[in-house]
Amino acid sequence: MTRSFRTSKGGRIDRAVPVTFTFDGRTLTGRAGDTLASALLANGIHLVGRSFKYHRPRGILTAGSEEPNALVGVAKSAAAAAAGQSVPNLRATQVDIHEGLVAVSQNRWPSLGFDIGAVNDRLSPLFVSGFYYKTFMWPKSFWNRVYEPFIRAAAGLGKAPTAPDPDRYANRYAHCDVLVAGSGPAGLAAALAAARAGARVILADEQAEPGGSLLHEAGAEIEGQSATVWVSAAMAELAGNDRVTLLPRTTVFGYFNQNFVALAERVTDHLASPDPSLPRERLWQVRARQVVLATGAIERPLVFPENDRPGIMMAEAGRIYANRYGVLPGRAIAVATACDSAWRAAFDIAALGGNVVAVLDMRGDVDPLLKERARALSIRVETGCTVTGVKGSKRVQGVLLGRLVGETVSSAGSLACDCLLISGGWTPNVSLHSQARGKLDWNPEKGAFLPGDPVQAQRSAGSCRGIDGLALVLADGARAGAEAAEAATGSPADVPTFSASGGDASTGWWLGAVPHDRNPARVRAFVDFQNDVTAKDVKLAVREGMHSIEHIKRYTTTGMATDQGRLSNMNALSIASTALANEIPQVGLTTFRQPYTPVTFGTLATTSRGDLFDPVRRTPIHDWAAAKAAAFEDVSLWKRAWYFPKSGEDMHAAVLRECRTVRESVGLFDASTLGKIEVVGPDAAEFLERIYTNPWKKLGIGRLRYGLMLNEAGFIMDDGVVGRINEDCFHVTTTTGGAPRVLAHMEDYLQTEWADLKVWLTSTTEQWAVIAVQGPKAREAIAPLVDDIDLATEAMPHMSVREGHVMGGIPCRLFRMSFTGEAGYEINVPPSRARQVWEAVFANVERLGGCAYGTETMHVLRAEKGYIIVGQETDGTVTPDDVGMAWAIGKAKPDFVGKRSLARPDLVAPGRKQLVGLLTRDGRALLEEGAQVTAEADPAPRTPALGHVTSSYMSAAAGRPIALAMIANGRARHGEILHVPMPNGAIAVEVVPPLFVDPEGSRLNV
């Protein structure tokens, strides 16, 4: 159909290797080494997307990561696309094509050529800056039903993938002496200098190929070699140094405190069928002693009416596509500029056989050598000339010219062309310096902000700090690299010198809106292409009272697109400063923030996904429980067996059966997850005396006591049973979730308040697996397995502990204790043999008619006894007295953590919520945990609740539902009828003591 736009020779693509891909369903061919952008341009395609707000047709503007228009959805293959595995919003300028790649344009329906949403462009007067704030404000009721659904349907660019991400993402922590961001001439010189000084160097560049501008700087020579040959030699030298890490396709996207720098490496996106074991992307988290920023400069668009039409491209991008990719950006190319470098684009393109119809320079005074050379190439030259408009909508067909005299413009006819290269000069890329909290200094000669003094151990080199011209940039990079190496390693580093020719400096620049002779009400000149912000919008924002640049940014959304304003900020700032009648440095620049370019969620999550999102802790009994079809629940990081359903049983039936079985015969429960701390030393008892509410000094060896732990404010923080193993050694247990918190709390007091105490703490949570055997037949179940411990109640009463052995020599600590109200034991054994012991006990339990039970049954059984669960009955504002546990407080003790607070006025005031039991009047309704409890069945709005339900279960033992609740003055309300209002009407409840089974506790001592 169309002749290729490839040059006949040149470029760094491999012309011998065709690569087939599709764009919007159309099969196209590029060459190995092409980006998606260069391959599309080679096929004559400029129109690649629709803009965000107005759905205006947009073309490829740049050749780099700052691309605002050419955002595409990409899938690895047609099969991947069909499976819903695609990535939206990739910049076509950064996508390396590979065989089978599927790319689609975005933000258009039904097609890129005909887009219904383009009606927004006709309605543009409605979509002025701040329109979100103005338009969707009223009526208020419209928000949920009309505006939000509409905005959600219309908003966003790409389509999110519909299938889970099949790719793997990796992480790598790294340290280095010198991290160099950017491998253009300055970065390469810096890396060479640092590496030659012996420093550990990481050199990262976001592009596929290192070299930066050297890859398209035609005619440039370094050390007597062509620039590209020198790049290869430099890279070979660096690759041969094992203290250097080279990272191509790697974007330095975040600069954090103390030279902690985040990099995103694209590992396999450029490959058609990568090794599946490789991650798609890798996050590098680098701690660098020194950082060299060699991030170059970014060419600035000219802001003239219709400057967003497809076919309009940055001049340097045109030069890159021609020189590096062998692609001519058009058949008839015009250049509109305010600086020298765009002339070189024209010359290079002409030298490759391109048809450059004219160079239009806003400046009246242009270097005669440039004009001379243009004329020699038969290029029309106009100085003091600007573009005032563009013909064509889906592709440039021509431009309107204006004669500039001062600030006034008069029409100067038009010019036919299908491509317009533009340049307003160069903006040093200070993003990372700014992320590193470095200040920026305004340089009026260069019309640019340059990096000021760094705050962190970093320095900028080359054109990102306004250095211009190849020889100076190389020298600046070498200096920066050597300085960084010296600062990092402390040993002196030589500054290498590199002779260079070509790559001359560029003078001239323009900031802000370009003057024109068009009707200002009718035309739009774009400042921020991706967010569709025009020069008019910025002026309007100022008129409407936005005087801070930060407010203007948010009101207009200029600079908030994926390029973070690298293309637009300076023009927007200049327009705002004119409107504000204030100088640019006084108006100031917005802060650049992380990430430099968008980063995938996968790269940020790395391996923390799926089963490896968090550690999943399993007990030694887990596999047995899983084989018995147990349901599991998550308790902190642990998986705990929740209940053991027999076939046909639901949770309710299983739990009722388990509860009944434990009370009637015996149940087996895996309590391995309980926290355990060995408290050892001559002052162990004294320490516990201070840390728990209870008294410990008189606890006999071999005895257990329930311990209650408060924080200093007097509130319950944990509880558990503590055994005295010998005079100096206590076996402390904690709640499952509280184990790390309790150990930290104990260490805190020990280290910082009572450093004189001779006592030490060691976590033994995983040294012991814990097999709880509970029920009237508990002793019968374990007795045959115990080697050397007398289980008779006289020898081993309730609340005692013995060390001994089970099953012929397996060491154990046997606790006689209960969390069910039944007689019971907890057998602590080494995890390696826990399964063996568990199975032996289970065999006995089964023989006795018992069963295994899970955490739900454990909860029910303890609730029937009114035993609290810390975190369920308590919420961090509950005192021992609130839950009826004043008995656990050692009254004679002069002090313990939290004691003084228990006398605080608000903790002794009447009206505190207290633990009670609740029985529904109808004996059937099961209350919802968390439900509010009120005095009236139908309380008036805003009546404070008396309290809330903390636990609620169907109780087999009570034959009815039971509940625990925290109720104001609850203990004084026993017998009262209260109400639990629910959506279907209030449930009447009777307040009762929180004890539903065996009030005398006689079952513990069987």
Binding site: Q285, A713, A744, D748, Q751, D895, K899, R900, S901, R904
Partner: protein, 101 residues
Amino acid sequence: MLLIHCPCCGVDRPEIEFRYGGEAHIARPVQPADFDDRQWAEFLYMRTNPKGVMAERWRHVHGCGRFFNALRDTVSDRFIAVYQTGEPRPDLSATGGEGAR
């Protein structure tokens, strides 16, 4: 991610090895019972919360396990000094400001 110097291990480690422990130099009263309610509330809840240099407790919880104290500038997030629990707060005027690590 901040680097924090552990005075006990003698190395800089990323902050996620550490746990923050609140303001330093608030000793638990030896005889809490002697404190009236106002004094006790002061001890429990009142903190200086300065904008600028603050003395605070840190614990190298995923390292040597020790508590130590640090002077940190709450504006810049910069650690100015670390010192052992029980040692007095370093006098910055003597060292000329942000001299130490």
